[in-house]
Amino acid sequence: MGATRERILGRIRDAVADGRESDWRAELDQRVEQAPQLIRPKLPDDLFACFSEKLVLGGGTCERLDAVSQVPEAIARFLKTNELAPKLRAAPALQGVVWGDVLHVNFGNTRGDDLVSVTPAFCAVAETGSVVLLSSEESPTSLNFLPDVHIVIVDMKQLVPHYEDVWEKLRVFGEVPRAINFITGPSKTADVEQTLQIGAHGPRNLHVLLVSDLGIDGPCADSA
């Protein structure tokens, strides 16, 4: 095993060694540690409008709420419109929300027998209409993929223009979680005759709630 590694790396070194400056290693260290300034596409000023437009393009839907107290009502409404029972599985991170009695809420992970899940997101990205979810004990990844309907709650303050803004926030947060999921719309496939079909293996619905002053703890609330 070690010998294989050495042979592969040795061949690479032979192929690339020519023309390296004496301080190449320090330069590369720096290249990794201070992420390079790369081209970021120009975006319109209204980030929410941009986010919303792109998310819809990907097959998702979203709404904007003024306060976290409106979350249960908004979810109940969404479920009713989609003819679903007011029952859901929420990530433990959302235990702090006052859920009231319009919804039947269970907290914890799923093994595939929950129709609806609600999870918090770390960021929303205007560039592509994506939500960014970090895995943790408080926000298990299975909730993002196994239920038929996935509802995501994001703090309006966490709506950022570009992917790179997510990385800046993540570097402040410190830890790289096991899974970072950029989610842009429901699960889909075009593998049968190039015909777009929603709901391949994951959720058939993605609904995003952007909330001013979400006020919950953890990475989703951010230190900024």
Partner: protein
């Protein structure tokens, strides 16, 4: 899989006559080309992003040893393990050993071209493991016992009726007794059948669109979510990736992701872009207990040292085949191995040798569309020409072609001989073909005249016409 690239001419001729395939390919190419053009048009920065992407990938290749070591250290720091494979057999054995050690029975797979390249499924099935492909296209092909015919739309050549038949035969025993005829029903049945497999699987194997040296993460990009279920639910996650997939930072990966989905499916981003880093953390209620990465060389270090280094910039988007008239006429299977289209015609001879796959380099009209859409600006026609040159040098081209070319080359270098001979030839052909204006058949040119008529020359050479024109002025 066993390569059949040496049969290219025969397979291509057969495929070109397949009406159903022609319709499927035309539909797919139209869709991909149109959607790509549309999203590229929405992004004024696309061209600078391409140039930047090329620069990033060149930088990685020029420092591949550094980035691989840095990536390896980052994976280990997060509790993952990195394995190095020189050959397909190495890669197979590493994965087989892990599966044996964890006493795996069922393996669920996300889409991975490198696992096709190293023939992983066959090796695992040889050990008695149950291996299930979870990408819908790959699943269809697994049932059909066929290789992919496109790198991002593997079942592009299959019709709805064929898929319905495959599902009916495979799912009967699971209690699905109806023959389905709509796309939603077919997708839904596959969803139901595969759902339990994700939950039962012991090991999940995925590929990697990129590996990130900064964090030790692997990225997978999907629309179905199958790759995510494959790497979240089983107790072991194995990533198979080729060594050139590494990029320096999350920012570099983002810059390349802006090019990938647009070039591949004509989307700005796919439904799911996932960064996986190491095994589950303390307190986590899901995620794998073990996280392994198998880094595969299989000839890439040799490419790095030579003329074909530029090909290692490839990010496997498939834009080159979507825009290739030859691919559009013969489909992916004709190429006889894992990678089809222009990128396959460059890669396959590099991996399998010119003796096996040299003919692929001739499956090109040198129209240049592939390189003009390649997000990594790989000069695919130049690299194909380089294969042709080497094939000629190694005397692997047919003798008739060699003599004909040598003869023409001699004449072309002796204009005093060339011009009168051409004038005579054209005059004769002009006379013979004057009545019909075309030839139905022609000695030594049956390759042309078998499928279309050869227009008869007007009796005058270009040189002659040119001189006349200049004289008139």
């Amino acid at each position: 899989m066993e390569p059949h690239s040496h049969d290219f001419k025969k397979n291509a001729a057969q495929a070109a006559g397949d009406e159903q395939l022609r319709l499927a390919l035309a539909k797919a190419q139209d869709g991909f080309v149109g959607k790509r053009a549309e999203v590229v048009g929405l992004l004024p920065e696309f061209e600078p992003l391409r140039e930047q992407g090329k620069t990033i990938r060149n930088h990685v290749l020029a420092n591949l040893d550094y980035y691989l070591e840095r990536y390896e250290a980052a994976v280990q720091k997060q509790g993952g393990q990195v394995h190095w494979a020189e050959t397909p057999e190495d890669a197979q054995n590493i994965v087989r050993d892990i599966c044996k050690r964890v006493d795996a029975k069922l393996v669920i797979k996300g889409k991975s071209m490198i696992s096709e390249e190293v023939a992983l499924n066959e090796a695992l099935e040889g050990d008695g493991l149950d291996v299930v492909e979870s990408d819908l296209g790959e699943y269809i092909l697994q049932l059909a016992k066929e290789p992919p015919s496109h790198i991002i739309a593997p079942a592009i050549h299959k019709t709805k009726a064929q898929i319905s038949e495959l599902f009916y035969n495979a799912h009967k025993k699971l209690g699905f007794n109806k023959k389905l005829d709509t796309v939603p029903d077919l997708v839904n049945e596959a969803r139901q059948v595969l759902r339990s497999r994700y939950l039962e699987a012991d090991v999940g194997i995925t590929g990697a669109n990129f590996l990130i040296a900064e964090t030790g993460s692997n990225i997978i990009v999907t629309n179905e979510g199958n790759g995510d279920l494959s790497c979240t639910l089983p107790r072991v996650h194995i990533v198979t990736a080729s060594i050139e997939k590494v990029v320096p930072t999350l920012d570099d990966a983002s810059a390349l992701l802006r090019l990938l989905a647009r070039s591949a499916t004509g989307q700005e981003i796919t439904s799911y872009t996932t960064f996986s880093t190491g095994p589950r953390r303390a307190g986590d209620s899901d995620g794998p207990e073990e996280y392994h990465v198998v880094l595969v060389d299989n000839g890439r270090t040799e490419m790095l040292a030579g003329t074909f280094r530029e090909m290692l910039r490839c990010i496997r988007c498939g834009a080159c085949m979507n825009h290739c008239p030859v691919y559009g006429a013969i489909g992916g299977h004709s190429y006889g191995w894992v990678y089809p289209g222009p990128m396959g015609s460059v890669l396959t001879p590099s991996f399998l040798g010119l003796k096996e796959a040299g003919d692929l380099a001739h499956a090109c009209t040198l129209n240049g569309r592939c390189s003009s859409v390649c997000p990594m600006k790989i000069p695919l026609p130049d690299l194909l020409r380089e294969h042709r040159r080497r094939q000629f040098e190694a005397k692997l081209t047919p003798k008739v072609a060699n003599y004909a070319l040598a003869g023409w080359g001699f004449l072309a270098k002796h204009p005093r001989l060339y011009q009168p001979l051409m004038a005579l030839g054209m005059k004769m052909m002009g006379l013979v073909g004057r009545r019909k204006g075309r030839f139905r058949s022609m000695p030594l040119a049956s390759g042309w005249t078998n499928t279309r008529d050869l227009p008869a020359p007007q009796g005058e050479t270009f040189h002659h016409a040119w001189r006349k024109r200049r004289g008139e002025k």
